[in-house]
């Protein structure tokens, strides 16, 4: 007894649909007789039997799609008629002594080719610590001495992750903390390292300035009245724009102190200190704050706050602020003296809005007032320039419509 199987008719044929039987049980067939018709993606093809004998039994009913090799019918070979050597045997494995790869195997298995490990670069280069370009840049920006970093890359090469670990700043790795996506412990050690270094290296001087923000409050109330919540502005947007414009006019407060010299920044990227529920803090940058409209600034700020609190800030946003603003909001205290984020050279503190007796045109009356402070790097600027800078911010906030 021999199986008549669904034949493979083409390199890319996996299955066929039997659409017509030309024989029935009991019929005698010769080698080469057409016994059925199979429908394939290319059309109907007549299939022949290579096995002579009598049809014993039909195994597959019409219009059923079956994979190549499925038995379709049984053929009783005549007594004494030796079934053709190959047809009878089930599709034998290729009995090859060499590692057996059945011809039907779609892809010839290849021993895993180890990726070409870079040949050792000539000795001159190898002596120098191998540091990835990305790691070199991060270390330079955060003032990390590479010799204090142990490399985890090939042959001890220092990678970006190594410098990160050294900084104690966890940017990406999600932690078990309540707020998903943020490792508050790692963040705390990173803040500690940055603040300690700032205090060690940067000679801070501090200035304070009282600013009447009543004009801002009136302007905001009148503007927001006509807007749906999505587009309403907060006073924070006004202060950021004012600081941005002032920083543009006073470059000594907008840039980086690196390799023992001050590099003024071409752009004004204002870092906004954002408190993270549960104790974290980050100061991602609002890029080109001086050129954004208030509406644009507000929507970017809302996005930044929302992403920071969800732990999804881009590493580029973390490391390229040119000046930072820290604000404790309405329920904080009146004045806040910040510590500069290295390698920046200034930080603005915004106190809470308080109602104060204030002389306007000779008459005393209640006004909304905030205390704005400046902590600046005395290696780069001095009090006189700081005062002008702070005064400029105060003046800008008197005409909110021009911001």
């Amino acid at each position: 007894m021999v199986d008549f199987r669904m034949p493979s008719l083409g390199a890319d044929m996996e299955a066929g649909t039997l659409v017509e039987w030309l024989v029935k049980p009991g019929d005698w067939v010769k080698r080469g007789d057409i016994v059925a018709v199979v429908e394939t993606q290319k059309g109907a093809i007549e299939i022949e039997t290579f096995q002579p004998g009598q049809i014993e039994q039909i195994l597959v009913d019409l219009n059923s799609k079956v994979p190549v090799g499925t038995p379709l019918a049984r053929i009783r070979t005549e007594a004494g008629e030796k079934p053709a050597a190959v047809a009878a045997a089930p599709p034998p494995e290729a009995p090859a002594p060499v590692p057996v790869v059945p011809p039907a195997a779609p892809a010839v298995e290849r021993p895993p080719v180890t990726p070409p490990s870079p040949p050792p670069v000539t000795p001159a280069a190898a002596a120098r610590a191998r540091v990835s370009p990305a790691a070199r840049r991060l270390a330079e920006e955060r003032g990390i001495d590479l010799s204090t970093v142990t490399g985890s890359g090939p042959a001890g090469a220092i990678t970006y992750a190594d410098v990160e670990r050294r900084l104690g700043e966890a940017i990406a790795p999600p932690e078990k903390k309540r707020v998903p996506g943020l490792d508050l412990d790692a963040m705390r050690t990173a803040i500690a390292a940055a603040m300690a270094r700032s205090k060690r290296e940067i000679p801070h001087y501090y200035l304070e300035h009282q600013v009447d923000v009543t004009p801002c409050e009136h302007w905001l109330a009148q503007k927001n009245a006509a807007l749906p919540p999505d587009n309403r502005l907060l006073i924070g947007a006004l202060t950021i724009k004012a600081v941005g414009l002032a920083a543009r006019r006073f470059p000594a407060f907008n840039g980086f102190y690196r390799n023992d010299k001050f590099e003024p920044a071409a752009a004004v990227h204002v870092g906004v200190a954002i408190a993270i529920r549960g104790g974290g803090l980050a100061a991602p940058a609002l890029h080109d704050a001086d050129q954004l409209s208030l509406d644009e600034l507000m929507s970017r700020m809302r996005d930044l706050v929302q992403r920071t609190r969800a732990g999804r800030i881009r590493s580029s946003e973390i490391s390229d602020s040119t000046i930072t603003i820290s604000s404790l909001g309405e329920r904080g205290v009146e004045a806040l003296y910040g510590i500069i984020y290295p390698p920046q050279v200034a930080i603005i503190g915004i106190g809470k809005t308080v109602t104060r007796p204030w002389v306007v045109d000779g008459a005393i009356g209640p006004r909304s007032v905030i205390t704005i402070t400046l902590s600046a790097d005395h290696r780069v600027s001095d009090g006189h320039a700081g005062a002008l800078f702070l005064a400029e911010i105060g003046k800008l906030l008197q005409e909110p419509d021009k911001l």
Binding site: P116, P118, P119, V121, T122, A124, A125, R130, V131, S132, P133, R136, G153, P154, A157
Partner: protein, 335 residues
């Protein structure tokens, strides 16, 4: 009596004449060698490279062909398989596209496909590159395409010594060798030793040592790159110029040694940027010398545009010295 040092006698010669000398030398030394191509005989060669050879060797060995690039390239392959050493001249790489099937599906494949029963010891020469205002269809630089094909070798002689010396070595090779001669080099003249002969065809050459940056190039762009190196030197930047000479196989060792030393690299390649030979060289540097890099690898390639006819646009389209200088400075962060 003090021996006068025997200075090799030098001859003033053009790149074209150097190639012609190579052809004459090969045809004289091996009767299996013959030149076949459009107008190589009676006309003396489209770029006058084979000028005079027809009179000297006759129509059998300086064989003019009909305009049948696939036909006579296939014939060259067949003749090589049956014992000859043909040199097929495909007038320019632009016309070689008609013979690409024979080059790829027969010449490059037959040894491997036949289980090493048949080889194709054939040399194919073709002019390449832009610069003569021949417009889009006659200005291609496609060496990078051919350097993609396993089974053949690809050469780019940029100097007189290589123009004179690569042919004989290529003819000894049991597998097909393609030689690309940049059209802008034919008229270049210089000194060549009268006894100059065969040179190697698988090593790159450092044409100008330097320490700050590796400028890696080949063929027609070599001389613009050397010019750029001179300009950079005036600004205190010592550029090392590496002439690939062989585009397949690439001489990785020489490339990586240079980059490991200078830690910066710019690749100059007249092909179009996407999928160019420069892309291949660049990635090999990333694979093999990543840890030595101090800046991203730069590339100066042709603009991705069909080469336009007007001179000022053609010049703007293909690599030029100022672009190479700018790319080198950018790589060094001194824009």
């Amino acid at each position: 009596m003090k021996q006068e040092p025997i200075r090799a006698e030098m001859v003033e010669m053009s790149y074209r004449e150097a190639v012609r000398a190579a052809l004459r030398d090969a045809i004289k030394r091996d009767e299996r060698v013959f030149l076949m191509g459009e107008d190589v005989g009676r006309y003396g060669g489209c770029y006058a490279v084979s000028h005079g050879l027809f009179a000297e060797f006759g129509p059998e060995r300086i064989r003019d062909t009909p305009l049948s690039e696939s036909g006579f390239t296939g014939a060259g392959i067949g003749a090589a398989m049956a014992g000859m050493r043909p040199i097929v001249e495909l007038m320019t790489v632009n016309f070689s596209l008609l013979a690409l099937d024979q080059i790829l599906n027969t010449a490059a494949s037959v040894r491997h496909m036949s289980g090493n029963q048949f080889g194709v010891p054939l040399v194919i020469r073709m002019a390449t590159g832009a610069g003569r205002q021949l417009a889009a269809q006659h200005s291609h630089s496609l060496e990078g395409w051919y350097a993609h094909i396993p089974g053949i070798k690809v050469l780019a002689p940029a100097t007189l010594v290589d123009a004179r010396g690569m042919l004989w070595t290529a003819l000894q090779d049991p597998d097909p060798v393609l030689i690309f001669e940049n059209v802008m080099l034919y008229n270049m003249t210089g000194k060549l030793a009268a006894v100059a002969g065969a040179v190697d065809i698988d090593k790159a050459a450092v044409r100008r040592p330097g320490r700050d940056i590796s400028l890696i190039t080949y063929g027609g762009s070599l001389w613009k790159t050397l010019e750029a190196a001179t300009a950079l030197a005036a600004e205190g930047i010592e550029a090392e110029v590496v002439d690939l000479r062989s585009l397949r196989p690439l001489d990785d060792a020489t490339i990586m040694t240079s980059v490991a030393k200078t830690r910066h690299a710019v690749i100059i390649d007249e092909g179009w940027r996407s999928g160019s030979l420069a892309a291949e060289v660049g990635l090999r540097i990333v694979e093999q010398a990543f840890w030595a890099l101090d800046a991203p690898i730069g590339r100066v390639c042709s603009e991705e545009v069909p080469i336009p006819y007007p001179r000022h646009l053609e010049n703007a389209a293909i690599p030029q010295t100022p672009k190479i200088v700018a790319a080198a400075k950018a790589a060094l962060g001194r824009a």
